[in-house]
């Protein structure tokens, strides 16, 4: 029995650097999983392996009952996964609305008025509606982060992957983003969220995994994981008995 998203012994290395080391875990449909780990631990690479931007050296990725390991990124996206990027990467020469429309028409397969209506709904949810006709390149950081989220949502994902979306935001901005993500989760979307802003993460996720040097080193209930000596030492850089 495999989970909604199942990574099975996924391994990827670039020369001597291993970014995923026999990574194995599952995410159930409707769950929200948090991912933490030090910089360079292989968290973003893990997203690249799930979305198909990177091919693993070995191991399998199953999504929604299908082996997607050899599927290209475009097909995986159309089968229901979408992600946001740590460093926002909008189509900067296009407007916010057009960015959303690309995802709605290409990934979610909507067309015409249906696509437009759907995009406007998502833009309202992500609080970007008033910037719909702004060129994406002209948005503020929060705007760009919201656009990342908008574009991912317009793909109508079953699985939404968020990569440090709260990083670099002010407290107030962060709080409103967390509220939006909670709403998305409540609507039934499965979420995997990589984040350094731990309090934001803990407000949403049901379960936490810790990654270091491409290896999963801990997994479990978020608050318990955060208190575990391993995490205190490796992730926060604090000696366990200090």
């Amino acid at each position: 029995m495999t989970a909604f998203l199942q990574l099975d012994q996924v391994t990827k290395s670039f020369g001597a650097v291993t970014v995923a080391d026999e990574l194995t875990y599952g995410v159930e449909a409707g769950e929200a999983l948090g991912v933490i780990g030090p910089n360079g631990a292989g968290k973003t690479s893990m997203f690249n392996l799930i979305t198909g931007t990177l091919q693993p050296n070995s191991g399998k990725v199953h999504f929604n009952g299908q082996d997607v390991t050899s599927m290209n990124a475009a097909k995986r996206c159309r089968s229901g996964m979408a992600r946001s990027f740590q460093v926002p990467q909008p189509f900067s020469g296009m407007t916010v609305f057009e960015n959303a429309m690309v995802a709605a028409t290409q990934a979610a397969g909507l067309s015409g008025h249906e696509a437009e209506k759907f995009c406007l709904e998502v833009l309202e949810q992500t609080e970007l509606l008033d910037r719909a006709n702004t060129l994406a390149g002209g948005l503020t950081l929060l705007g760009r982060k919201r656009l990342e989220l908008t574009r991912a949502l317009c793909a109508r994902p079953k699985l939404l992957m968020l990569d440090e979306i709260a990083g670099g935001l002010t407290e107030a901005e962060c709080a409103s983003l967390v509220k939006t993500i909670k709403d998305i989760h409540a609507s039934g979307v499965t979420i995997i969220w990589i984040e350094h802003v731990v309090h934001a993460l803990l407000a949403v996720v049901d379960r936490l995994i810790v990654i270091d040097f491409g290896k999963k080193i801990a997994e479990g209930e978020p608050h318990a994981i955060m208190k575990s000596p391993e995490v205190q030492e490796i992730y926060l850089g604090i000696e366990a008995d200090a």
Partner: protein, 287 residues
């Protein structure tokens, strides 16, 4: 009045140059591919038009109905089978491969159609003219210009108002992210090349009705196309039309000063603009 006439005739000639350039501009805009074989593809379009009119006995303009889809299919297959493999970080492979294609096309056309200059017979359309305010304007150049404006407007509409256009722009903007939005880059590039060669077919047939052609003239058409694109500013379709018009006017005014100066005047104006505005007159505003 003679000068006014030269400017007006040059403007109309610019329509043809804009048609030469539109396909080139589109391909570069979407996939950063510089197609050295573009001129030969224009000539290929003209020869396909010639064959269709000869075999079916129809008017060259009617031949568009057959030649445009034919060239579009050729474009899609060419992109998927060959050109997609050359695209990557390096600009050199596509240059070399399209240069090779240019040589192959020229020689294939030479084998099939010989080096004799050919011309399409468009009957009375070739000589028909209308008189406007003391100027005598050929119906064919007017029609060519109108087609150029229509083609540019249609491309512009496609780019900014349709899902396909957004797919082109998204892919052009950031290929990796486009893949993650469910866009198959190879297919999108195939469609862009199909659209570009469809436009090129129109350019080829308008060329073939206007003047005689032979397999070797592709290089010259490529230069005019390039100059129009660069004068107008890369990636700006209306700019390309303006670039074509500026080039056309420079040529006819040059020819008015001295008949030997036609091409030289065009190139000089191009160089002057390049020196003053290296990005062209109307570069696309980027966010």
């Amino acid at each position: 009045m003679e000068w006014v006439n030269a400017v007006v005739q040059g403007t109309l000639l610019g329509g043809l140059y804009a048609l030469f350039a539109a396909g080139l501009s589109l391909i570069f805009g979407v996939m950063r591919l510089v197609n050295i074989a573009h001129g030969d593809m224009i000539v290929l379009g003209a020869y396909l038009g010639l064959s269709v009119t000869a075999i079916l006995g129809i008017h060259p303009l009617m031949a568009l109905i057959i030649v445009v889809p034919c060239m579009a299919v050729i474009g899609y297959v060419l992109q998927r089978s060959i050109l997609n493999q050359t695209l990557g970080g390096d600009l050199l492979p596509p240059l070399l491969v399209t240069f090779g294609l240019s040589v192959i096309l020229q020689n294939a056309l030479l084998e099939i159609y010989t080096a004799d200059p050919q011309k399409m017979n468009a009957g009375s359309l070739e000589t028909a003219s209308v008189s406007v305010g003391g100027l005598s304007l050929g119906v064919l150049p007017l029609l060519t210009f109108a087609i150029a404006v229509a083609v540019i407007a249609a491309l512009q509409w496609t780019f900014y108002r349709t899902a396909l256009g957004r797919a082109f722009r998204a892919t052009s903007d950031n290929q990796e992210i486009a893949q993650l939005m469910g866009l198959n880059r190879r297919h999108i590039f195939g469609l862009a090349m199909a659209l570009a060669l469809g436009v090129t077919a129109i350019a080829g047939i308008m060329l073939g009705i206007r003047t005689s052609f032979d397999p070797s003239i592709g290089g010259g058409r490529l230069i005019f196309g390039f100059e129009a694109v660069i004068i107008g500013g890369l990636g700006n379709l209306w700019g390309t039309l303006a670039g074509g018009v500026i080039l056309g006017v420079a040529q006819t005014v040059g020819a008015k000063i001295d008949p030997g100066w036609q091409l030289l005047a065009g190139h000089l104006v191009f160089l002057a603009i390049l020196a003053v505005r290296p990005n062209g007159l109307f570069p696309r505003i980027s966010g």
